[in-house]
Structure formats: C-alpha cells, structure tokens
C-alpha cells in the first residue's frame, strides 16, 4: 500500500480566514440590528449595496491580476470591508457615496497594495476618509434617531432617497437630519455653552446620544463575543478604550464644563465599533502582543485629541489610519525575548 508523504504537522488546522471573517460578520449583527431599529432600513440598503459593489470590484480586480476569483471571494474579507464601511456612512448617504467609498477601499486601498494581507491601511477607513474629505456635506448629514424624528420613511421612500436622492413630497431634508451628539457637543461648546447645559438637549440620552448608545451597546456585545471566541485579542480594544478613557477622565477632572464625561466619549460616535471591529483588523494593526496594547492606546489617545482639539467631530478613521502608519515601528520595538536568549 502506498501513502502520500507530506510534511508534519499532519494535524488539521484549527482555524481558517473564512471562519474568522464569518464570525466578524456575525458579531456585527447586534449593532446593525440596533442601528436599523433606531435609524431605519436605510442601513440595510447601504450594506446590501456595499456588499454587491465590493464583490464585483474584488472579482474584477482579481481577474485583472490573474488571481483565482471564486475561492478568493469566499474568504469574505471584501464583505467585511463593505459592511464596516456601510455602517460607518450616514444612513441617508446617496448611493454613489457608497459606491465611490467601496471602490476606493477595495481597488485602491486593498488590491493596489497586493490584496488581502498586504494592505498597510485599513481599507474601510481609507474609503471613509476619502469620502469625508471629498464630500463633507453628504458625509455629515446624519438622520435623527427614530425617537426624535417626526417622520417615518417606508421602504419605497428609502430606496428613492438613497438611489434617486428624492424625499417624499411633504418632507424637507432638514426635517429628518440632525447633528450627531459628538457634533453638537463640539458646535455648542463653540457657542459658549457648557457641557452640562448641552447635555440637556433632546439629542442626548442616558450616556451619549439617544439611539446611538444602543448601537454602541450592540457593537460592545458583538465585540465581547469575538473576544470570547478568541477571534480578537483583548489588547487592542482594551488599549483603545483605556487610552480614550484616560484622556477623557483627566480633562473631565480638570474642567467638567468644557470637557464631556469619559462615559460619553466611550459610548459616543464610532468608539465601540472602532475598538472591537476596526482597530482590530489584524492586517493593518501591530502584530506583537505588547505592540497591540500600545497600538490600541495610541488610537484611543488620537481619537480623543482629534475629537476635542482637531477639526472633526469624530476621529476613529483618522486615528486608525495614523496608527496603521506606526504599526511596523511598534512591532520593531516590541519584539519578545526568545526562549533561552538574553534580553
């Protein structure tokens, strides 16, 4: 009897990229569900559009690069990028925003650098930043959460809004949009109001914005599940939340009229999504265990700095991209001591 002579280890691998990506997608469900509940089915339309465009873009560029298409699409990495970008966009963003962002993310940020595993920058965040700096008006028009909105849109309204940029006849654009909590803190502080005063505005809920805090809770639950499943390590999320929380606590302790509470910063904006789903993208993060803690701390600090003193109300995308730049250096300086070697 003849046997094949392959090299050890013979044991089956315990994990696969496909499985990792699939679990990331599953973990996003609670957050997406909350977002759909509070902001309408526009989220789902954006996700569907983004996924279709991402798969088409990935398939075409794989074809151009002469790489296998079917088996590569199966790794679901393009889908993860698409969903992450789609849920970062304003719900009422017109279709071309999504398309432009996805094309940039998949074609430029991912494949022009060599595809999965080779891209130095987080593709979803690269796409997001491109959109934010190119189309600031569309990228900052956020829908008011359902609790505050006076109008309800049905499925047809949503499709018309996203694909034809048309609102139902009797509704004004301004009637459905509203500044995000981070945005309103920023502008109102500029107008001379104090944080406690601002927090009495209708947009604020228990910790951060109405609706928004539930979405953040959804991402937190999904993220904790990913940690429990050992798909992501604790270092980046903990580092990020710690960095942001520490900065926010210090400033809050100094002057609680000028600086929002740490609980607000931890729940507002993209903090939870960023901590568990975006900063944890392994390809673009630092790889050593200690390096990841530093990487997380760096992102958390940058988020706070940009939110409070920078030019944008939220900062996750910028902070992640800046930290991506530092990942190789962090890895270089955090090499573990090899067993049996001197430090």
């Amino acid at each position: 009897m003849k046997f094949s002579t392959v090299m050890s280890p013979h044991l089956q691998p315990v994990n696969s990229v496909d499985r990792v990506m699939l679990q990331v997608l599953l973990a996003l469900i609670p957050g997406i569900a909350a977002m759909t509940w509070f902001f309408g089915i526009g989220v789902l339309i954006n996700i569907a559009l983004a996924v279709v465009v991402a798969l088409l873009a990935e398939a075409s560029i794989l074809g151009l690069r002469g790489r296998p298409i079917g088996s590569t699409l199966k790794d679901l990495s393009a889908v993860v990028t698409a969903v992450l970008l789609a849920i970062s966009l304003p719900v009422i963003a017109p279709w071309w925003i999504t398309v432009v962002g996805i094309l940039f993310a998949i074609v430029i940020a991912k494949h022009l650098y060599g595809g999965l595993g080779y891209n130095p920058f987080n593709p979803a965040m690269a796409g997001y930043v491109l959109l934010l700096v190119s189309f600031p008006m569309q990228m900052t028009a956020w829908l008011a959460p359902i609790e505050l909105g006076s109008v309800a849109l049905n499925e047809v309204d949503w499709l018309k809004l996203i694909f034809l940029e048309q609102l139902p006849a009797n509704i004004e654009f301004d009637a459905i949009t509203m500044a995000t909590p981070l945005d309103s803190v920023r502008t109102q502080l500029g107008l001379g109001r104090s944080v406690p005063e601002i927090k009495t505005d209708s947009v604020f809920g228990l910790l951060a914005g109405k609706g928004w805090e539930w979405v953040a809770g959804g991402y937190l639950i999904g993220g904790l599940w990913l940690m429990w499943r050992k798909i992501i390590g604790w270092q980046i999320p903990v580092g990020l939340l710690l960095g942001l929380g520490l900065f926010a606590s210090i400033c809050y302790a100094i002057d609680n009229n000028q600086f929002a509470a740490p609980s607000f910063h931890l729940v507002a904006g993209a903090t939870m999504l960023g901590a568990f789903f975006i900063a944890t993208d392994p390809v673009t993060a630092a790889t050593s265990v200690n390096g990841r803690l530093i990487y997380g701390l760096l992102i958390g600090s940058l988020v706070y700095i940009i939110r409070v003193w920078g030019g944008y109300p939220d900062a996750m995308a910028f902070a992640v991209l800046l930290a991506n730049l530092t990942a190789p250096a962090i890895d270089y300086f955090t090499r573990p001591r090899v067993f049996g070697q001197k430090a």
Partner: protein, 494 residues
Amino acid sequence: MLKTWRFHGGLRLPAHKNLSAHRPIVNAELPKQLTYPLQQRPGVQLKATVAPGDTVLRGQIIADSDHFLATPLHAASSGTVKSIEDRIIPHPSGLSDPCIIIDTDGHDEALPPEPVEDYRLEPAATLRSKIRQAGIVGLGGAAFPTSIKLNPGPQRHIDTLILNGAECEPYITCDNVLMQAEPDAIVQGALILMHALQVGDGIIAVEDHMTEAFQALSAAIEQSRDRRLTVVKIPALYPTGGEKQLIRVVTGKETPSGGIPADVGVICQNVGTAAAVYNAICRGLPLTERVVTVTGQGLKQQQNMRARIGTPISDLINQCGGYQDSVERLIMGGPMMGFALPEDDIPIVKATNCILAAAGSEVATSKETRPCIRCGDCAKACPVDLLPQQLYWHSRAGNLEKCKEFSLFDCIECGCCEVVCPSQIPLVQYYRAAKSKTIAKAKEAEKAAIAKRRHDFLLERKAREQAERAERSRRKKEALAKLKAAETATEGAE
C-alpha cells in the same frame, strides 16, 4: 506537590489517547524477517560486523562504528543474516539505504545475559560503557545516545535528573502504558542514571491526565525507599514533552539558546530509556525491543505493542486487524512532528514510539492556503516566543540573514504555529527549507574559503618560485660575469 512553571504559548490539542491508553501491552509476534538500517542518525553510518550467511543470536552485536554518536546494533532474535542490501529506511526522505536483513529461525535463542551484580559499586564510566554497549539511545523519539548524555563533562555541574513521561503529542501512549506496566523498572533505571550522574534529585514528570501511571510510579518509589526521587504531574500542554520546555515546567530554568540541558544542571531522559537502562544493567539485556503505539482511525484495532526492533510495520498493522478503508496516511511518530512513510514495508527502529495510520478525517488533506493576515496567532502559540510571521516573510523571500536575526535556529519545528494559522500556510516547511539553505550556504562558504586558501597558496607559491628562478638566473649571470672577468684578467696577464 512540586511547584511547576509554564512556558510561553503551546496548544491544548485533542489527545486521541483513549484509542490505546487503556489496553494492556500486547507482545507482537516474532517477525519472519528483521531489517536494520545501517544509517543510525544523519551522518552516522554503522559498519556491519556480520556477513550474509552468518548465524546470529538475540542480543548479538551486528553493526557498530567508532563515531562518537554511534551505538551498537543488536539482533533482536536468532536467525541467519540473509543479505546486506538497500531498503527503504524510516526517514523523511523516503530513500533507500543499506540495511542488514536477518531471516529469523523462530527459536529466539539469546546470548547469555551479563547483568551487573550491584550497580552502586560500579564507577560511572563502567555504567556508561555498559549502557553504550547495550545500544541504548533516547527512546522518546530523538534517539540520542544515552551514554553521551550521561557524560556532560567536568565543567558542567549536574544536580537534577528529569525523566520525561510527558507524552505531549496526540495519540501516543507507549510511555503511559509502560509507566503503568513497569514502574519498578523505570524507578530502578532512574536510580541507576542518578548514580551514574552522581545527582541528588530525580524527578519523573507525567501529564496530569495520567492518573494510573502517577499512582504506579508513586508506589514504586515508595517501595524503593529512595527519597531522592519524586513524581510530579504537569499540565498537558503541547509541546511540554520537548526537552527544554519540560525543564522549564519542572525546574523553572531556561536552557540557553544553542545550549544543552546540562548547561543548567539538568539531564533529561525518557521513561522508556530508564527502563531500558535497568534492563541493560540489572538484567544484562541489550536494547532489542520497545513499546510502540500502533493507532489511528485508519486501523481496525489500536493498541500498544512490545515489538522487536527491526520488525516490519506491516506485521504490526496486520496484528491490529489491518487497515480501515478510510486510511489516508501512515506516520512514524505523532501527528505534530512525526513523518509520513511512503509504504508499510519499513522496519521500526529504536526511535519509533508510534505508528499512526490516520484516516482522512484525522489529518490535513487539502489545506486552502491564503495570504497571511498578520493575526499573530502563530506568535501566541510559539513555545519558544519566536515571531513565526516574520520568519515566514523572510524565509519566503530567501532572506537567510534576517531569518537568523529572528532566531530561526531556535525553532523546534513543533508545528504549533502552523496548526493555529487561519491562513493555513505550511509555515514549518518554510522554516525547514530556510534552515537547510542556511546550512548548505555555510558549507558552501566553508568550501569557498578552503578553495580561496588553496588559490592564495598557489599564487604565493608561483610568486615564490618566480622569485627563486629570478634569483637563480641572476646568480648564474653574476657567476658568468665573474668567470668572464676572471678570463679577461688572465688573458690580460698573459
């Protein structure tokens, strides 16, 4: 309970040990033919001391060498030397090499045993020489000569002997059942080794799930009334049975990179080796048999067998009821570090602790390799705290200098990184290739250096010869000139 330490990384692997762990050791039938490869280790080739047609007895030396890493080979049963010819040897290459073939006669006649009366009266050198003469090597899988390990040299102070009973690879249970069946032989063997090393501490390490083995050894130690020996349970975490990992777990000491356990005052021996030492010293029996785990879902029955060294694997498989249809791969050793054999007409050797006939569902048959996503799981799993990912990039790029910088040669090829890799990259293959390339390059560089020295010497010699020639012709001219001058002078005088 002794304190234990831990090492970085490692994996909890599905053990699959119940297939064979709770069955008695079965004596394998005497095979019709015994086969002995003359290549003992890479670079250690034995010389046959018998010729075709010779009759041999069990325990008779049939091959040996002066190489310091060689140990003699003994016939495992009586019979006639049929031939010395090329056969496929149990080696990852799957290549053929000279082997001694013995047709057994079925009488199983043995040379009279020559036991030592009381080992405590013997000097260490005598015990070492007897252990070498009995052909004893490490039975855990590496087959390093035991007598060499027992001679760490005067500059190293040894204080602890560790017996390795941590069978960390999945499936393998031969040490476990041996500890249950022959705890006294192991304990006595340990005491002999401690005497030969003059050490005061002996620790037998078993994995925490080996309750029966632990109890059997504890009872045997109790009976020996020797308080220098203890048995300790350690967590079942692959690769805790690796020598340096085990030393770390049991003593907290870190064997230096590139060093040996003796550098931290420890000698490690497998429990089976200790039993073999006992048999050699107290019963006068050379190493001609061992316990082999014959297992895997690809077999009808799984069991531990006491088999003569040189027995064809096919014989053992037949005695286990043969293969199942699902059999996919035949592995010598465990599924993590064992190597796949091309066929089963290959003999077991001293290092063979396990024959794993794995079904398709038990081994990786088709890996879907994807690009590295830099997840870092490999670095978390690495028991040596290497950065497998960086080693992968550099070995793939052929950057051997960088591989060295990232401590490629500290890699023990345990396979943890590869098993956890979600991209299913054959990491260990890359490391092996980079290692052999580095070694080949070093050899080449050495050759080049020799060639350069020769060339330089040649140039030097040529230059010297030329200078000598020039000197000679100058002298000749001078002499001629003198002669001429003298002639002219005489002519003038005339």
